[in-house]
Symmetry: C2
Subunit: 142 residues, 2 copies
Amino acid sequence: MAILALDDQDRVLMVRQWRVAAGQALLEIPAGTLDVADDGSIEDPDLAARRELEEETGMRAGSWRLLTRFYTAPGFTSELMHLYLATDLRLADGHRLGPDEDEHLLLERLPWEDVLAAAERGEVADAKSLVGLLWLDRFRSG
Amino acid sequence: MAILALDDQDRVLMVRQWRVAAGQALLEIPAGTLDVADDGSIEDPDLAARRELEEETGMRAGSWRLLTRFYTAPGFTSELMHLYLATDLRLADGHRLGPDEDEHLLLERLPWEDVLAAAERGEVADAKSLVGLLWLDRFRSG
């Protein structure tokens, strides 16, 4: 799942992390994969999104909305990405702003128009983040 | 690479193909991977885009523009997708409109706003196509 998290100043919570496959640090929206339990059951995406946002940013959202679902790369994986909009953000109990210590990433809060400009310059360069940002940009009123 | 191909009536060339990983047919923009030659050299993305457009649609473009490049899924693959805008379309010599016989897909030409509406309804559901459509929607004037 992937999470477009907007604070009350219309800033987007972005995480910067080293990507081995890309050979560089990328600026992305918070995201993760669904946990698989010992009995083989797959984590609920709604719950996973809440867990992931807290782990990567230290924040909880008062409002959650599933924007859409899409296949990341249907030519070679069945991964179906759930894209959420999270608003009404507040610091989670017992957390500080930022990722958990075992998360190797940096949190950045960027104004909406700055993030779109960064995307246009190629500085947000992964598919799920681009879908998330551009989706909200086009369908925000929907 | 992936190709946003627009004809002179502002229709988008889309291909519908069965995706095993998704368990359904998906409506996507023409796309493909880069060929690797016997000597290990990788096909030039500019040339690959021209080849792929012709194979999947029977069309050639008089105008090509690289819109952006992005990682499809940097968590697990180094695939860097080159996204092109192709315009000034015409039927390739010796081709009919539509895919080559060995391409298992259907060509559809859809008005721009219809494609965006289909995306909003979840009927265009793969990351590269959504990036392509939403990118042009936002940055068309750029």
